[in-house]
Protein backbone atom coordinates (compact mmCIF):
# COMPACT_ATOMS: atom_id res chain seq x y z
CA UNK A 1 0.00 0.00 0.00
CA UNK A 2 1.55 3.28 -1.12
CA UNK A 3 1.89 6.13 1.40
CA UNK A 4 3.58 9.39 0.41
CA UNK A 5 5.85 11.26 2.82
CA UNK A 6 5.32 14.96 3.45
CA UNK A 7 1.50 14.86 3.30
CA UNK A 8 -1.13 15.04 6.01
CA UNK A 9 -3.62 12.19 6.39
CA UNK A 10 -7.16 12.05 7.84
CA UNK A 11 -9.03 9.29 9.66
CA UNK A 12 -11.25 9.09 6.59
CA UNK A 13 -8.28 8.03 4.45
CA UNK A 14 -7.72 11.29 2.66
CA UNK A 15 -4.34 12.82 1.91
CA UNK A 16 -3.87 16.57 2.24
CA UNK A 17 -1.06 18.48 0.60
CA UNK A 18 -0.62 22.01 1.99
CA UNK A 19 0.96 24.83 -0.03
CA UNK A 20 0.56 28.20 1.68
CA UNK A 21 -3.14 28.67 2.45
CA UNK A 22 -4.26 26.05 -0.09
CA UNK A 23 -4.88 22.41 0.82
CA UNK A 24 -5.18 19.89 -2.02
CA UNK A 25 -7.21 16.81 -1.05
CA UNK A 26 -7.48 13.33 -2.50
CA UNK A 27 -8.07 9.81 -1.21
CA UNK A 28 -5.32 7.40 -0.28
CA UNK A 29 -4.22 4.22 -1.97
CA UNK A 30 -5.76 2.32 0.96
CA UNK A 31 -9.12 4.08 0.40
CA UNK A 32 -9.24 3.41 -3.32
CA UNK A 33 -8.39 -0.26 -2.81
CA UNK A 34 -11.21 -0.59 -0.27
CA UNK A 35 -13.72 1.11 -2.56
CA UNK A 36 -13.01 -0.98 -5.64
CA UNK A 37 -13.59 0.25 -9.17
CA UNK A 38 -14.51 3.93 -9.05
CA UNK A 39 -17.04 4.90 -11.70
CA UNK A 40 -18.12 8.38 -10.64
CA UNK A 41 -16.82 11.31 -8.61
CA UNK A 42 -19.28 13.99 -7.50
CA UNK A 43 -17.32 17.21 -7.11
CA UNK A 44 -18.25 20.18 -4.90
CA UNK A 45 -19.21 23.55 -6.37
CA UNK A 46 -16.57 26.27 -6.54
CA UNK A 47 -16.71 28.93 -3.82
CA UNK A 48 -18.87 26.81 -1.51
CA UNK A 49 -17.67 26.99 2.10
CA UNK A 50 -17.50 23.96 4.36
CA UNK A 51 -16.56 23.13 7.91
CA UNK A 52 -14.10 20.37 8.76
CA UNK A 53 -15.60 16.88 8.22
CA UNK A 54 -18.54 18.17 6.18
CA UNK A 55 -19.47 16.01 3.19
CA UNK A 56 -18.51 17.93 0.05
CA UNK A 57 -19.16 15.29 -2.61
CA UNK A 58 -18.98 11.59 -3.19
CA UNK A 59 -16.93 8.83 -4.71
CA UNK A 60 -18.92 6.00 -6.20
CA UNK A 61 -17.71 2.52 -6.98
CA UNK A 62 -19.78 0.05 -8.98
CA UNK A 63 -21.35 -1.15 -5.74
CA UNK A 64 -21.74 1.87 -3.50
CA UNK A 65 -21.53 5.60 -2.91
CA UNK A 66 -19.17 6.98 -0.26
CA UNK A 67 -19.18 10.54 0.99
CA UNK A 68 -16.07 12.62 0.50
CA UNK A 69 -15.49 14.76 3.59
CA UNK A 70 -13.29 17.81 3.72
CA UNK A 71 -10.76 17.25 6.50
CA UNK A 72 -10.29 21.01 6.91
CA UNK A 73 -12.58 24.06 6.91
CA UNK A 74 -12.56 26.58 4.12
CA UNK A 75 -13.71 27.63 0.67
CA UNK A 76 -13.49 25.40 -2.41
CA UNK A 77 -11.14 27.14 -4.84
CA UNK A 78 -10.56 24.45 -7.45
CA UNK A 79 -11.96 21.02 -8.39
CA UNK A 80 -10.38 18.32 -10.55
CA UNK A 81 -12.76 18.24 -13.50
CA UNK A 82 -10.66 15.55 -15.17
CA UNK A 83 -12.28 13.10 -12.76
CA UNK A 84 -15.65 13.59 -14.43
CA UNK A 85 -14.36 11.82 -17.53
CA UNK A 86 -11.73 9.64 -15.91
CA UNK A 87 -12.92 8.60 -12.42
CA UNK A 88 -10.77 5.47 -12.72
CA UNK A 89 -7.66 7.63 -12.32
CA UNK A 90 -8.44 7.64 -8.58
CA UNK A 91 -7.82 3.88 -8.63
CA UNK A 92 -4.83 4.06 -10.90
CA UNK A 93 -2.92 6.92 -9.31
CA UNK A 94 -4.66 8.09 -6.12
CA UNK A 95 -1.89 10.47 -5.00
CA UNK A 96 -2.04 12.41 -8.28
CA UNK A 97 -5.80 12.22 -8.81
CA UNK A 98 -6.59 15.07 -6.42
CA UNK A 99 -10.27 15.87 -5.94
CA UNK A 100 -10.53 19.44 -4.66
CA UNK A 101 -8.53 22.37 -3.31
CA UNK A 102 -9.69 24.30 -0.29
CA UNK A 103 -8.50 27.64 1.01
CA UNK A 104 -7.79 27.03 4.69
CA UNK A 105 -9.86 29.12 7.08
CA UNK A 106 -8.34 27.54 10.20
CA UNK A 107 -4.79 26.32 9.81
CA UNK A 108 -4.72 24.93 13.35
CA UNK A 109 -6.97 22.08 12.12
CA UNK A 110 -3.90 20.63 10.40
CA UNK A 111 -2.52 19.75 13.83
CA UNK A 112 -5.19 17.09 14.33
CA UNK A 113 -4.21 15.27 11.12
CA UNK A 114 -1.70 12.43 10.87
CA UNK A 115 1.67 12.42 9.19
CA UNK A 116 2.78 9.57 6.90
CA UNK A 117 4.27 7.53 9.75
CA UNK A 118 1.13 7.80 11.89
CA UNK A 119 -1.09 6.98 8.92
CA UNK A 120 0.97 3.91 8.14
CA UNK A 121 0.33 2.68 11.68
CA UNK A 122 -3.34 3.66 11.39
CA UNK A 123 -3.84 1.38 8.38
CA UNK A 124 -1.61 -1.45 9.62
Amino acid sequence: MKIVEGLFYSNDHEWIKVEGKIATVGITDFAQSQLGEIVFVELPDLDDEFGANDPIGAIESVKAASDVLTPVSGKIVEVNENLEDAPESVNEDPFNAWIFKVELSNESELESLMNATAYKEFTA
Partner: protein, 354 residues
Protein backbone atom coordinates in the same frame (compact mmCIF):
# COMPACT_ATOMS: atom_id res chain seq x y z
CA UNK B 1 -15.85 -13.64 10.37
CA UNK B 2 -15.21 -16.83 12.35
CA UNK B 3 -18.84 -17.75 13.02
CA UNK B 4 -19.79 -17.36 9.36
CA UNK B 5 -20.53 -20.36 7.19
CA UNK B 6 -18.28 -21.29 4.29
CA UNK B 7 -19.24 -22.97 1.05
CA UNK B 8 -17.32 -26.01 -0.19
CA UNK B 9 -15.45 -23.63 -2.54
CA UNK B 10 -14.19 -21.23 0.16
CA UNK B 11 -10.54 -22.26 -0.19
CA UNK B 12 -10.80 -21.99 -3.97
CA UNK B 13 -12.03 -18.38 -3.68
CA UNK B 14 -9.22 -17.45 -1.31
CA UNK B 15 -6.68 -19.09 -3.63
CA UNK B 16 -8.02 -16.94 -6.49
CA UNK B 17 -7.51 -13.79 -4.40
CA UNK B 18 -11.21 -13.02 -4.09
CA UNK B 19 -12.36 -10.17 -1.89
CA UNK B 20 -14.57 -12.00 0.62
CA UNK B 21 -17.55 -10.41 2.36
CA UNK B 22 -20.28 -11.49 4.74
CA UNK B 23 -23.45 -12.23 2.84
CA UNK B 24 -26.49 -13.69 4.56
CA UNK B 25 -24.41 -15.63 7.05
CA UNK B 26 -21.81 -16.89 4.57
CA UNK B 27 -18.36 -15.73 3.62
CA UNK B 28 -18.80 -15.14 -0.08
CA UNK B 29 -16.64 -13.66 -2.86
CA UNK B 30 -17.84 -10.18 -3.85
CA UNK B 31 -15.26 -9.91 -6.61
CA UNK B 32 -12.11 -11.53 -7.97
CA UNK B 33 -10.56 -9.51 -10.78
CA UNK B 34 -13.14 -6.70 -10.68
CA UNK B 35 -16.86 -6.23 -11.20
CA UNK B 36 -16.58 -4.63 -14.65
CA UNK B 37 -14.23 -7.28 -16.06
CA UNK B 38 -16.35 -10.07 -14.59
CA UNK B 39 -19.57 -8.57 -15.98
CA UNK B 40 -17.98 -8.28 -19.44
CA UNK B 41 -16.67 -11.86 -19.33
CA UNK B 42 -20.16 -13.28 -18.79
CA UNK B 43 -21.54 -11.23 -21.70
CA UNK B 44 -18.74 -12.18 -24.12
CA UNK B 45 -17.39 -15.54 -22.98
CA UNK B 46 -18.38 -17.45 -19.82
CA UNK B 47 -18.31 -16.97 -16.07
CA UNK B 48 -18.79 -19.32 -13.12
CA UNK B 49 -20.53 -18.38 -9.90
CA UNK B 50 -20.46 -20.12 -6.53
CA UNK B 51 -24.09 -19.89 -5.46
CA UNK B 52 -23.92 -22.68 -2.91
CA UNK B 53 -25.51 -20.40 -0.34
CA UNK B 54 -28.86 -20.75 -2.14
CA UNK B 55 -31.51 -22.86 -0.41
CA UNK B 56 -32.87 -26.10 -1.83
CA UNK B 57 -35.97 -27.72 -0.38
CA UNK B 58 -37.28 -31.09 -1.51
CA UNK B 59 -41.06 -31.60 -1.50
CA UNK B 60 -42.26 -35.21 -1.62
CA UNK B 61 -45.64 -36.87 -1.15
CA UNK B 62 -48.93 -37.88 -2.75
CA UNK B 63 -50.13 -34.31 -2.60
CA UNK B 64 -46.88 -32.60 -3.56
CA UNK B 65 -48.46 -30.99 -6.64
CA UNK B 66 -51.40 -29.59 -4.65
CA UNK B 67 -49.03 -28.30 -1.98
CA UNK B 68 -46.64 -26.57 -4.41
CA UNK B 69 -49.52 -24.93 -6.25
CA UNK B 70 -50.92 -23.71 -2.93
CA UNK B 71 -47.73 -21.77 -2.13
CA UNK B 72 -46.70 -20.75 -5.69
CA UNK B 73 -48.01 -17.94 -7.90
CA UNK B 74 -47.23 -19.53 -11.25
CA UNK B 75 -49.47 -22.25 -12.75
CA UNK B 76 -47.91 -25.68 -12.28
CA UNK B 77 -50.86 -27.67 -13.62
CA UNK B 78 -49.29 -27.82 -17.08
CA UNK B 79 -45.70 -28.15 -15.80
CA UNK B 80 -43.99 -31.13 -17.43
CA UNK B 81 -41.64 -33.47 -15.60
CA UNK B 82 -38.08 -32.06 -15.74
CA UNK B 83 -39.40 -28.56 -16.37
CA UNK B 84 -38.37 -25.60 -14.20
CA UNK B 85 -40.79 -22.75 -13.46
CA UNK B 86 -40.08 -19.34 -11.95
CA UNK B 87 -42.61 -17.78 -9.63
CA UNK B 88 -43.19 -16.39 -6.17
CA UNK B 89 -44.46 -17.35 -2.75
CA UNK B 90 -46.77 -14.71 -1.35
CA UNK B 91 -48.38 -13.85 1.95
CA UNK B 92 -52.16 -13.58 2.22
CA UNK B 93 -51.89 -9.83 1.54
CA UNK B 94 -50.02 -10.43 -1.72
CA UNK B 95 -46.57 -9.27 -0.63
CA UNK B 96 -43.68 -11.62 -1.26
CA UNK B 97 -42.24 -14.32 1.00
CA UNK B 98 -39.64 -15.14 -1.66
CA UNK B 99 -39.14 -15.77 -5.36
CA UNK B 100 -38.06 -19.22 -6.37
CA UNK B 101 -37.52 -21.86 -9.02
CA UNK B 102 -39.67 -25.00 -8.93
CA UNK B 103 -38.01 -28.12 -10.39
CA UNK B 104 -40.59 -30.83 -11.13
CA UNK B 105 -39.43 -34.46 -11.04
CA UNK B 106 -42.98 -35.84 -11.13
CA UNK B 107 -46.35 -35.20 -9.51
CA UNK B 108 -45.03 -36.40 -6.17
CA UNK B 109 -41.58 -34.79 -6.12
CA UNK B 110 -40.42 -31.21 -6.53
CA UNK B 111 -37.26 -29.28 -5.67
CA UNK B 112 -37.69 -25.64 -4.63
CA UNK B 113 -34.66 -23.37 -5.04
CA UNK B 114 -34.95 -20.28 -2.86
CA UNK B 115 -32.90 -17.25 -1.89
CA UNK B 116 -30.10 -17.71 0.62
CA UNK B 117 -31.30 -14.72 2.63
CA UNK B 118 -34.78 -16.21 2.99
CA UNK B 119 -34.25 -19.93 3.29
CA UNK B 120 -34.95 -20.29 7.02
CA UNK B 121 -38.02 -18.09 6.72
CA UNK B 122 -39.16 -20.04 3.63
CA UNK B 123 -38.73 -23.40 5.31
CA UNK B 124 -40.79 -22.20 8.25
CA UNK B 125 -43.45 -20.78 5.89
CA UNK B 126 -43.67 -24.05 3.95
CA UNK B 127 -43.98 -26.07 7.14
CA UNK B 128 -46.64 -23.74 8.48
CA UNK B 129 -48.71 -24.19 5.32
CA UNK B 130 -48.18 -27.91 4.98
CA UNK B 131 -51.71 -29.15 5.49
CA UNK B 132 -51.09 -31.62 2.64
CA UNK B 133 -48.91 -34.08 4.54
CA UNK B 134 -45.90 -33.66 2.22
CA UNK B 135 -42.34 -34.31 3.37
CA UNK B 136 -40.17 -31.22 3.34
CA UNK B 137 -36.43 -31.84 3.36
CA UNK B 138 -33.80 -29.12 3.54
CA UNK B 139 -31.17 -29.98 0.90
CA UNK B 140 -29.31 -26.70 1.28
CA UNK B 141 -26.08 -28.53 2.08
CA UNK B 142 -25.84 -29.18 -1.67
CA UNK B 143 -23.36 -27.01 -3.52
CA UNK B 144 -24.44 -24.99 -6.53
CA UNK B 145 -22.35 -23.50 -9.31
CA UNK B 146 -23.74 -21.52 -12.26
CA UNK B 147 -21.95 -21.24 -15.58
CA UNK B 148 -23.29 -18.41 -17.69
CA UNK B 149 -22.40 -16.83 -21.00
CA UNK B 150 -22.21 -17.58 -24.74
CA UNK B 151 -19.44 -20.16 -24.18
CA UNK B 152 -21.14 -21.85 -21.19
CA UNK B 153 -22.54 -24.84 -23.07
CA UNK B 154 -19.33 -25.49 -24.99
CA UNK B 155 -17.29 -25.50 -21.77
CA UNK B 156 -19.66 -27.59 -19.67
CA UNK B 157 -20.09 -30.08 -22.53
CA UNK B 158 -16.39 -30.96 -22.18
CA UNK B 159 -17.12 -32.35 -18.70
CA UNK B 160 -20.08 -34.59 -19.55
CA UNK B 161 -21.15 -37.23 -22.04
CA UNK B 162 -24.75 -36.13 -21.75
CA UNK B 163 -25.79 -34.09 -24.79
CA UNK B 164 -26.44 -30.68 -23.19
CA UNK B 165 -28.43 -29.48 -26.19
CA UNK B 166 -31.15 -31.87 -24.91
CA UNK B 167 -31.45 -29.80 -21.74
CA UNK B 168 -33.56 -27.03 -23.21
CA UNK B 169 -34.38 -23.63 -21.69
CA UNK B 170 -35.83 -24.01 -18.19
CA UNK B 171 -35.54 -27.81 -18.07
CA UNK B 172 -33.21 -30.01 -16.00
CA UNK B 173 -31.70 -33.49 -15.97
CA UNK B 174 -29.89 -35.59 -13.39
CA UNK B 175 -26.63 -36.32 -15.17
CA UNK B 176 -22.97 -37.06 -14.51
CA UNK B 177 -20.56 -34.14 -14.78
CA UNK B 178 -16.88 -34.94 -14.38
CA UNK B 179 -17.90 -38.29 -12.93
CA UNK B 180 -20.12 -36.75 -10.25
CA UNK B 181 -23.91 -36.96 -9.96
CA UNK B 182 -25.44 -33.57 -10.57
CA UNK B 183 -28.71 -31.83 -11.26
CA UNK B 184 -28.14 -29.59 -14.29
CA UNK B 185 -30.71 -27.04 -15.49
CA UNK B 186 -30.53 -24.54 -18.33
CA UNK B 187 -31.35 -21.62 -16.06
CA UNK B 188 -29.54 -18.63 -14.62
CA UNK B 189 -29.62 -15.09 -13.36
CA UNK B 190 -27.70 -13.12 -15.97
CA UNK B 191 -29.78 -12.88 -19.15
CA UNK B 192 -27.28 -15.18 -20.87
CA UNK B 193 -27.51 -18.81 -21.89
CA UNK B 194 -26.05 -21.13 -19.29
CA UNK B 195 -26.59 -23.75 -16.65
CA UNK B 196 -26.97 -24.18 -12.93
CA UNK B 197 -25.27 -27.27 -11.51
CA UNK B 198 -26.25 -28.76 -8.14
CA UNK B 199 -24.01 -31.37 -6.56
CA UNK B 200 -22.59 -32.69 -3.31
CA UNK B 201 -19.18 -32.86 -4.99
CA UNK B 202 -18.52 -29.59 -6.81
CA UNK B 203 -14.86 -28.67 -6.27
CA UNK B 204 -13.35 -30.50 -9.25
CA UNK B 205 -16.12 -29.26 -11.54
CA UNK B 206 -15.33 -25.66 -10.48
CA UNK B 207 -11.59 -26.15 -11.02
CA UNK B 208 -12.08 -27.77 -14.43
CA UNK B 209 -14.41 -25.03 -15.64
CA UNK B 210 -11.80 -22.48 -14.54
CA UNK B 211 -9.13 -24.39 -16.45
CA UNK B 212 -11.40 -24.35 -19.53
CA UNK B 213 -11.35 -20.54 -19.41
CA UNK B 214 -14.47 -19.61 -17.45
CA UNK B 215 -13.89 -16.51 -15.34
CA UNK B 216 -14.89 -16.67 -11.64
CA UNK B 217 -17.65 -14.15 -10.95
CA UNK B 218 -18.42 -12.64 -7.55
CA UNK B 219 -21.63 -11.36 -6.02
CA UNK B 220 -20.84 -7.83 -7.28
CA UNK B 221 -21.11 -8.72 -10.95
CA UNK B 222 -23.88 -11.22 -10.22
CA UNK B 223 -25.97 -8.22 -9.20
CA UNK B 224 -25.03 -5.94 -12.12
CA UNK B 225 -25.71 -8.81 -14.56
CA UNK B 226 -29.13 -9.69 -13.15
CA UNK B 227 -30.04 -6.01 -12.98
CA UNK B 228 -29.05 -5.36 -16.60
CA UNK B 229 -31.23 -8.34 -17.59
CA UNK B 230 -34.14 -6.82 -15.55
CA UNK B 231 -34.29 -9.84 -13.24
CA UNK B 232 -35.69 -9.01 -9.80
CA UNK B 233 -33.82 -9.33 -6.52
CA UNK B 234 -35.65 -10.05 -3.28
CA UNK B 235 -35.15 -7.10 -0.94
CA UNK B 236 -34.97 -4.69 -3.89
CA UNK B 237 -37.64 -5.17 -6.57
CA UNK B 238 -39.79 -7.45 -4.39
CA UNK B 239 -40.10 -7.82 -0.63
CA UNK B 240 -42.58 -8.38 2.17
CA UNK B 241 -43.67 -4.77 1.44
CA UNK B 242 -43.95 -5.08 -2.37
CA UNK B 243 -46.33 -7.35 -4.30
CA UNK B 244 -45.44 -9.00 -7.63
CA UNK B 245 -48.24 -7.31 -9.62
CA UNK B 246 -46.99 -3.82 -8.80
CA UNK B 247 -43.38 -5.02 -9.25
CA UNK B 248 -44.38 -5.77 -12.88
CA UNK B 249 -43.98 -9.54 -12.47
CA UNK B 250 -47.62 -10.23 -13.38
CA UNK B 251 -46.64 -12.77 -16.03
CA UNK B 252 -45.51 -15.09 -13.20
CA UNK B 253 -48.76 -14.65 -11.26
CA UNK B 254 -51.58 -16.81 -12.62
CA UNK B 255 -54.74 -15.58 -10.98
CA UNK B 256 -56.90 -18.39 -12.40
CA UNK B 257 -55.21 -20.93 -10.12
CA UNK B 258 -55.60 -20.84 -6.35
CA UNK B 259 -52.64 -20.04 -4.12
CA UNK B 260 -51.95 -18.10 -0.95
CA UNK B 261 -52.34 -14.40 -1.71
CA UNK B 262 -54.37 -14.81 -4.90
CA UNK B 263 -57.45 -12.95 -3.70
CA UNK B 264 -55.38 -10.00 -2.53
CA UNK B 265 -53.44 -9.95 -5.80
CA UNK B 266 -56.70 -9.99 -7.81
CA UNK B 267 -57.80 -6.86 -6.02
CA UNK B 268 -54.40 -5.24 -6.41
CA UNK B 269 -54.50 -5.94 -10.15
CA UNK B 270 -57.88 -4.25 -10.50
CA UNK B 271 -56.81 -1.24 -8.51
CA UNK B 272 -53.15 -1.11 -9.34
CA UNK B 273 -51.19 1.96 -8.23
CA UNK B 274 -47.52 1.16 -8.89
CA UNK B 275 -45.26 -0.36 -11.50
CA UNK B 276 -41.59 -1.08 -11.97
CA UNK B 277 -40.17 1.38 -14.49
CA UNK B 278 -36.81 1.93 -16.10
CA UNK B 279 -35.08 5.22 -15.34
CA UNK B 280 -32.09 6.79 -17.02
CA UNK B 281 -30.29 9.76 -15.50
CA UNK B 282 -29.88 12.83 -17.70
CA UNK B 283 -27.72 14.63 -15.12
CA UNK B 284 -24.51 12.97 -14.00
CA UNK B 285 -24.74 10.63 -11.03
CA UNK B 286 -25.77 7.16 -10.00
CA UNK B 287 -29.27 6.25 -8.81
CA UNK B 288 -28.97 3.78 -5.92
CA UNK B 289 -31.37 1.43 -4.16
CA UNK B 290 -33.54 3.44 -1.76
CA UNK B 291 -33.08 6.86 -3.35
CA UNK B 292 -36.32 8.83 -3.71
CA UNK B 293 -37.94 9.51 -7.07
CA UNK B 294 -39.58 12.95 -7.33
CA UNK B 295 -41.97 14.45 -9.87
CA UNK B 296 -41.31 17.78 -11.61
CA UNK B 297 -42.89 19.56 -8.62
CA UNK B 298 -40.30 17.82 -6.43
CA UNK B 299 -42.92 15.71 -4.65
CA UNK B 300 -41.92 12.16 -3.76
CA UNK B 301 -43.55 9.60 -6.07
CA UNK B 302 -41.47 6.48 -5.52
CA UNK B 303 -38.15 4.86 -4.90
CA UNK B 304 -35.22 3.37 -6.80
CA UNK B 305 -35.16 -0.42 -6.31
CA UNK B 306 -31.78 -1.02 -8.02
CA UNK B 307 -29.51 1.31 -9.97
CA UNK B 308 -26.04 1.22 -11.46
CA UNK B 309 -23.76 3.08 -13.79
CA UNK B 310 -23.23 0.55 -16.57
CA UNK B 311 -22.59 2.12 -19.98
CA UNK B 312 -25.17 4.68 -18.77
CA UNK B 313 -26.71 5.46 -15.39
CA UNK B 314 -29.88 3.40 -15.21
CA UNK B 315 -32.23 2.13 -12.55
CA UNK B 316 -35.39 0.27 -11.81
CA UNK B 317 -37.89 2.25 -9.75
CA UNK B 318 -41.25 1.59 -8.18
CA UNK B 319 -43.43 4.52 -9.29
CA UNK B 320 -47.10 5.26 -10.09
CA UNK B 321 -48.50 3.39 -13.11
CA UNK B 322 -49.43 6.56 -15.01
CA UNK B 323 -45.81 7.52 -15.78
CA UNK B 324 -44.89 6.94 -19.43
CA UNK B 325 -41.72 6.49 -21.44
CA UNK B 326 -39.95 9.83 -21.81
CA UNK B 327 -41.56 11.47 -18.76
CA UNK B 328 -39.14 13.56 -16.72
CA UNK B 329 -38.59 12.79 -13.04
CA UNK B 330 -35.93 13.73 -10.50
CA UNK B 331 -33.82 11.50 -8.28
CA UNK B 332 -32.79 12.76 -4.86
CA UNK B 333 -29.08 11.93 -4.70
CA UNK B 334 -27.71 13.15 -1.38
CA UNK B 335 -28.43 16.91 -1.42
CA UNK B 336 -28.93 17.10 -5.19
CA UNK B 337 -31.99 16.55 -7.34
CA UNK B 338 -30.82 14.94 -10.55
CA UNK B 339 -32.89 15.05 -13.73
CA UNK B 340 -33.89 11.69 -15.19
CA UNK B 341 -36.37 10.21 -17.64
CA UNK B 342 -38.52 7.11 -17.79
CA UNK B 343 -37.08 4.55 -20.22
CA UNK B 344 -37.77 0.96 -21.20
CA UNK B 345 -36.93 -1.66 -18.57
CA UNK B 346 -35.27 -3.63 -21.33
CA UNK B 347 -31.68 -2.51 -20.74
CA UNK B 348 -30.34 -5.32 -22.95
CA UNK B 349 -31.51 -8.11 -25.23
CA UNK B 350 -31.40 -11.43 -23.44
CA UNK B 351 -29.27 -14.10 -25.10
CA UNK B 352 -31.23 -17.19 -24.09
CA UNK B 353 -31.16 -20.38 -26.18
CA UNK B 354 -34.80 -21.36 -26.39
Amino acid sequence: MSNLKRTALYDNHVKLGAKMVEFTGYQMPIQYEGIKAEHAAVRSNAGIFDVSHMGEILVEGDKATEFVQYIFTNDITEQANNQVLYGLMCYENGTVVDDLLVYKYDNEKYLLVVNASNKDKDFAWLNKNNSFGVNLTDKSDMSEVAIQGPKAEEMLQKLTNHDLSKITFFTFEEITVDGKECIVSRTGYTGEDGFEIYSYDIINIWEKLLALGAMPIGLGARDTLRFEATLPLYGNEISDQINPIEASLGMFVKLDVDFIGRDALKEIKENRKLKSAGIELIDKGIPRHGYKVLNIDEEEIGEITTGYMLDRSVALALIPVNYKLGDIVYIQVRNRKLKAKIVSRKFMNKNYKK
